[in-house]
Amino acid sequence: MSTSVAAASRVALSARAAAWVGIGLGAVAWYLALPPILLRTAIPSLLIAAVGVAAGAYAVREGRRRLGWIAIVIAVIGAIGAVVATQSGEGNLERVFVWSALIAAMLRFATPLIFAAMGGILSERSGVINIGLEGMMLMGAFFGIFGADLLGSWFLGILVGVASGAVLGLVHAVVSIHLRADQVVSGTGINIIALGITGYVFIYHYGDQGTPPDVSQVPNLTIPLIEDIPFIGEAIGTMNLLTLTALLFVPVLTVYLFRTRGGLRLRSVGEKPRAADSVGLPVLRTRYLAVIASGALSALGGVYLSIGLLSAFSQNMTAGRGFIALAAVIFGSWRPYGALAGALLFGFSSAVARRLPAFSDSTAVLFEALPYVLTLVVVAGVIGRSRPPAAIGVPYVKE
């Protein structure tokens, strides 16, 4: 009996391992054709990708259907990518795939996603769906630069931006928790209100000229020792203060959620609110605080957009990033490190998309769609694999 169980678990384990091997082989297949290896023939890549497909197929047959299929898809994509890369000019490839610059760009693009995703995790772990991350990010983006401009410092700008996001979070909290609204619909309303408010005040205050170009920016930090190391220095030697904050916040949130009493209470409110209530936990207040915090964090991501990355504001500048962050949360199974991985993945796709115009100028615009396509694929592939907090989306009625 125990041997068959052991045998079954061994088979299951190797199926999972096979799937991950397939994913890895797909990535390797593509990587071979890129700088610095720059293989000019696609044969080795195709062979490796074929093995990856086989590994994925094995995983599918042994019961790990979803992971196996993901492995097959990634191996096929790796093969196609390798073939395309071997057909492209070496010069172009070298211009696009400067890995250190790509990593630096990936971190820059991922920062707003990381902040919003952390906020999303807090809100959803407490049981409230927060579709309004996009609107809260937009509020932070505008009021961050607005505050920095009026008050003369980036720090005060951050405070103003975060406060504006918290206010919007409060609105979402009241409507979703107290008024027990349909949380997806109310989140959508929040997004449209944010679009209107930011656009209104933006035009009212700045009119045609737009934001001034010399608003106080959040500074970049240069880490003295790392900066000098050849590859790593270009990649992470100089980072924006907010990027560093985001990266440091991930382990902080992990510790809070899984190693502190406060985090445990938050999670129990999201999993079994009635049980939590019977033990005396303040369910509604916990949710309120979580949603307000998610608003503040998303706004911080938006502040980075306007006074950390771009030094300007334009209407609707978040361009769907709040939703990409939500996809990162789902990708990461509502865990901070998982969401970080998702945010880095999407950030990487933005970074590559930004450089791909080296190949073809008129198609440059089309490449901008890459992060959104990737989000689509990820959401489709990952959903159902992870389990959201049990009581999510259901307003709590105190009896």
Partner: protein
């Protein structure tokens, strides 16, 4: 909140069932109240930033052209109101359709925020079909172009439907991603050097013009001044089709059943996944049709600006929610928001009273508030229950009872 809502108003699982309770409880009073509240809040925003809300709303009203309906408007004023009303109805036409696109989805429990992307894809298909085939006879050309638009919209929305049916991916995220992908595809197609960019003017990022034979005939006003085209009748016909599908066909019955309770529907043998795909495709047809109405009716070409700043898909959300996702309910909100959009446009709003670009943002605030208030249906129902208690127990208003059974 200490008020105990009526049993009818207890939170139910799906958007469709919650909104059905909203319909049973509220009748027409609730949407009116919601609208008034939203406009009041909009007025507050104006007050806070130093504008005169009354004067602004009056200026917006002047631009809508609705005065034409009143028999006491005569002479020059009437002629101006006629032109303005044509503009309002021009905006109302696609708005009806994008509203239907959202409403149909809601009836099945799906939140279709992808109306914008589906509209854009439909417009792209219509402009391509309308500018190709220069020698086709007029009726066939219009028909083919509209068909292309509907098919494109159905396909685009169908992607989200298939993803939901097969993997369970939430349609909110997928449709919004598809929105942005549609925008970038459009920007690429019509950008300088793009595959569908007009060959006649290579520096301008726009499409080829729609051929004369593919344009929708104008029946009120001067074609040169963008008079009203027959598209409005097509849109109204679509409302009838919407009602017929939902209330007089087995498909519609299945759709509504899935919307109320997917588990029960599945248990009784209906394929929930197939219904999701079908519903999203139909939503896409409505939204794509909206795109073709604008392209074939008055735009006659697509420029990258048209694609980037198009928001009619989002306006459809507020319209659908205010109209409680029913066919008859859509009429008033559509007219209201169509008038709001038209009255605040660059063309119609007097800039000395209120800046038009400020005004368009004001409409977003009002619409967002509408959506927010509608989402909190429970509180509204509780208020209605309290009000009914205040005035003694009496039957709900007749229209609500009739609407619960029919549209």
């Amino acid at each position: 909140m200490s008020a105990a809502p009526e049993p009818d108003a207890v939170v139910a699982a799906t958007p469709a069932s919650r909104l059905a309770a909203y319909v049973r409880g509220g009748g027409v009073v609730v949407p009116v109240l919601t609208t008034l509240l939203a406009f009041f809040a909009g007025g507050l925003v104006m007050l806070v930033t130093g504008s005169d809300p009354i004067a602004t709303y009056e200026a917006i009203w002047k631009g809508t052209g609705l005065q034409w309906i009143f028999p006491w408007t005569t002479g020059d004023e009437r002629a101006l109101a006629a032109v303005n009303l044509q503009q309002t109805l021009l905006v109302t036409t696609p708005l009806i359709l994008t509203g239907l696109a959202v409403a149909f989805g809601f009836r099945a429990g799906l939140f279709n925020i992808g109306g914008n992307g589906q509209y854009i894809v439909g417009a792209i298909a219509a402009v391509w079909a309308g500018s190709s085939f220069p020698d086709m006879p007029a009726f066939a050309h219009v028909f083919i172009s509209i068909l292309a638009a509907c098919a494109a919209g159905a396909l685009w929305a169908g992607i989200a439907g298939v993803l939901k049916a097969t993997t369970g991916a939430h349609e909110v995220i997928t449709t919004i991603m598809l929105n942005w992908i549609a925008i970038y595809v459009g920007l690429w197609l019509f950008g300088v050097g793009g595959p569908l960019q007009t060959e006649l003017e290579p520096e301008i990022p726009k499409s080829a013009d729609v051929v004369e034979g593919a344009k929708l005939p104008v029946f009120w006003g001067e074609p040169i001044l963008q008079g009203l085209h027959i598209g409005i009748f097509i849109a109204l016909a679509a409302v009838v089709v919407f009602w017929l599908i939902l209330n007089r066909s087995t498909t519609g019955f299945e759709v509504r059943a899935v919307g109320f309770n997917p588990e029960a529907a599945r248990y009784s043998g209906m394929s929930v996944g197939k219904n999701y795909i079908l519903v999203m495709a139909v939503c896409g047809v409505f939204a794509g049709l909206a795109g073709s109405m604008d392209v074939l009716g008055w735009q006659f070409r697509l420029a990258t600006n048209d694609i980037q700043f198009q928001l009619i898909g989002f306006f459809g959300i507020a319209v659908a929610l205010l109209g409680r996702n029913t066919a008859t309910g859509t009429v008033a909100p559509v007219l209201l928001f169509g008038a709001l959009i038209s009255g605040t446009s660059q063309r119609n709003l007097d800039p000395t009273v209120f800046d038009p670009s400020l005004a368009s943002n004001l409409t977003y605030i009002i619409q967002g508030l509408v959506i927010l208030i509608v989402s909190a249906d429970v509180i509204v129902l509780a208020l209605m229950a309290r009000a009914r208690g205040l005035f003694g127990r009496r039957k709900p208003p007749e229209p609500a009872a009739a609407e619960a059974g029919e549209p």
